[in-house]
Symmetry: C2
Subunit: 425 residues, 2 copies
């Protein structure tokens, strides 16, 4: 299966991937497209020309909208049908309607460099989990000591909390350093000012598909039918604000100033070849078996390589790799997260975003936050040119990339990037 | 100022109130109306007939929509102008266009009993605060003992957390008893099943008006221009689920199965006569003065009487009053909550809901949750007919009502009610 467009054989954006995003081009409105190599194929144009009909012939269009919500709502049968149709239309040996389409090809195939990407969905609710065991252990060790690192509930349920949906932004959006209340000295009153411990969190997120009605949980065996696809997430965090505010109701302003997501949503189906066993959730690994509503059959983890690059204002484009890890380090899977989230009857809606929580591996080079990499600022990172970092400084750019690669098949996530702007005066 | 419709002189729904809501009638779509006595005046009809123009003549209509968001976005000058216009149109001595309007009056004035009420807004984000000192002290005492009841941050900032927006429902919606993971025995593994400690939380909520762009906080002195109006909130809570899950990231599934709001949004302006001094936030009351960004001038509290009624399946309509309290018991004001929420740059959007947290007074008859009324189930409530309650049983109905009354002026909130349905099999 080869694309008719010029796409390098080892590209993570070949016909095996076909991630969806929302883009605009010139004066046109934002609409849905699919990425192939360094091209964007305009699905609104294909829909208008009758080449793709996601909702079935004669139904309302879903791609000429500035969000993927309507397509997400259609569910896995529609997603598979569109994916198959696109693979056919975009290959060098399938339906020639687009390939040899003249005007439609002209209109629908755009260079990636010419488009502006937008948030992929209207996010009704954003939930952040805490599903990497090493991350929870690291944070717990720093805050409470090693003997009390994992709280008693952690191995029994995917701990999570409600995040702020309004401040989820698309990759490329600059992030203003937040100000807030902190208490640097435990024996003095709190003070107000710009955060001094601005951090990142490397996460993998997913968008919900059809979702459920209030009162009707999604079972673990049905959960895969409700996961549309995946993005990279940087859940920016102000550790000093978070530390002072978070007891007893959890993170709030230490997080809600910005959460960045990558623009291309990698379809759930595209990641099927990268499913692998996770850490066993049973006595063979010394872990408690989850309650039945969380017991998942088959491979639970995703073999996606993840990388964090930090580029200070004095560095060249690209910056320095400061962490390399993998989504295999997640103990709780997306399916388990969704089954847990709805087991009380809570309704999930198309376009809801759920993120994994920071993903950290066992060695310090695989930690997904500066809090962990510098062990709460005690061990500064050494960067080229003699620079060091504990937390982020103004002008720093953080870029997270992701790619799954196996048996000659590559699926890229692209990147989520953002630069720190100085605090508002 | 007397209404031309038949409204009792002591009604909380006279021309001083004029709350907004979203209703439907017969086969018509949901649209915005205003309540006057036991009538609903259809603002979409008034807008269509040119009697009201919220956004200015010739602008897009805001009332023929199934949510108040567009009107909320217009800001306080537009709200005041519409309110004044409605008071004129609805009085027995003002503009006769509606009063003597024949067909328009016939179309626009509907009996309250004939309409169905809907959620007043599309809620982008829902935030729940924890602003009643007595409630925080009660809960802290039960969980951590009296010497450690209020956490060190509580008197310095309005503690809050992100709630779940998808499961906010309008008054009258039944609530399915949630199931979930709990650990009744600290020395045994957790178990799964219907919550055994289903509770209510009596709260006052507000809807955000224009809101702010990401990165640009709303100052405490501007906050009043961003508060559209108030509703009653019942933040249903499953205490057993909450207890097991909430450390360290806060309440999640113990809350997200349902949050009920009253359908009529009482305008911010209508409550101006009921502003009163709150507990002093300075040394005169032994309290720390807040940081400048939280210092509010003028009266901070709202003199709104609140009542909780519990009706078991064996009781007559109306049930038994189990709590009476007042919104004066809130230490942190809506303006302070909004200034705090956005001080880190977090953006608030039209239609966002922010609730006060449980409102409790000093004596047990004024506690806003069963957790407090029964002191964690230790002191069951005695109800008529020999019934008792620690937490809610299936078939129980909870109704919260609110009213502000002073110097012959009354402003009613109506009610938020809901009945507990048995857990799904």
């Amino acid at each position: 299966m080869n694309p008719f467009l010029d796409v390098p054989a080892d590209s993570g954006f070949g016909l095996h991937n076909l991630p969806y995003g929302v883009f605009s081009h010139g004066d046109g409105g934002a609409r849905v497209g699919v990425r192939l190599g360094d091209y964007v194929v305009d699905l609104a144009a294909l829909e208008t020309h009758g080449l793709v009909a996601a909702a079935g012939a004669g139904r309302a269009p879903v791609f000429s909208q500035p969000a993927l919500n309507a397509f997400m709502a259609l569910g896995p049968d529609a997603w598979s049908a569109v994916r198959e149709r696109l693979q056919d239309l975009l290959s060098d040996s399938g339906d020639p309607a687009l390939r040899e389409g003249g005007a439609v090809r002209e209109a629908a195939v755009l260079p990636l460099a010419d488009v502006t990407m937008h948030l992929p969905a209207r996010i009704g609710d954003y939930t952040d989990f805490y599903s990497s065991r090493q991350h929870a252990t690291n944070v717990g060790t720093m805050f409470r000591g090693p003997e009390n690192a994992l709280k008693p509930n952690w191995l029994h349920l995917p701990v999570g909390y409600h995040g702020r949906a309004s401040s989820v932004v698309v990759s490329g959006t600059d992030v203003v350093r937040p100000s807030g209340q902190t208490r640097p000295d435990d024996d003095a009153p709190p003070t107000f000012g710009p955060s001094k411990r601005l951090d990142i969190e490397l996460e993998l997120g997913f968008f919900v598909g059809p979702g459920n009605e209030l009162g009707d949980p999604i079972s673990i065996s049905d959960a895969d039918r409700h996961i549309f696809g995946f993005v990279l997430v940087n859940d920016w965090s102000a550790r000093d604000i978070q530390k002072w505010e978070y007891v007893p109701l959890g993170p709030f302003l230490g997080k809600s100033f910005a959460t960045s997501v990558s623009p291309w949503v990698v379809p759930y189906e595209a990641l099927a070849p990268f499913r692998v066993d996770g850490e066993p959730q049973d006595a063979t690994a010394g872990n408690p078996e989850p309650l039945p509503y969380l017991r998942q059959r088959g491979p639970r983890a995703l073999d996606v390589d993840l990388e964090v690059r930090l580029q200070t204002s004095s560095m060249d484009e690209g910056g320095e790799v400061v962490a390399q890890t993998t989504a295999r380090n997640l103990y709780w899977s997306p399916e388990q997260q969704l089954a847990h989230h709805t087991v009380n009857g809570c309704n999930a809606r198309p376009g809801d975003l759920m993120a994994s929580g920071t993903i950290s591996g066992e060695d310090p080079g695989s930690y997904g936050s500066l809090l962990e990499m510098t062990w709460s600022g005690k061990n500064p990172l050494s960067l080229p040119g003699g620079e060091t970092r504990t937390f982020l400084e103004d002008g720093d750019r953080v870029t997270i990339t992701g790619e799954a690669r196996r048996d000659g098949v590559a699926v890229g996530f692209g990147e989520v990037t953002g630069r720190v702007l100085p605090p508002r005066p």
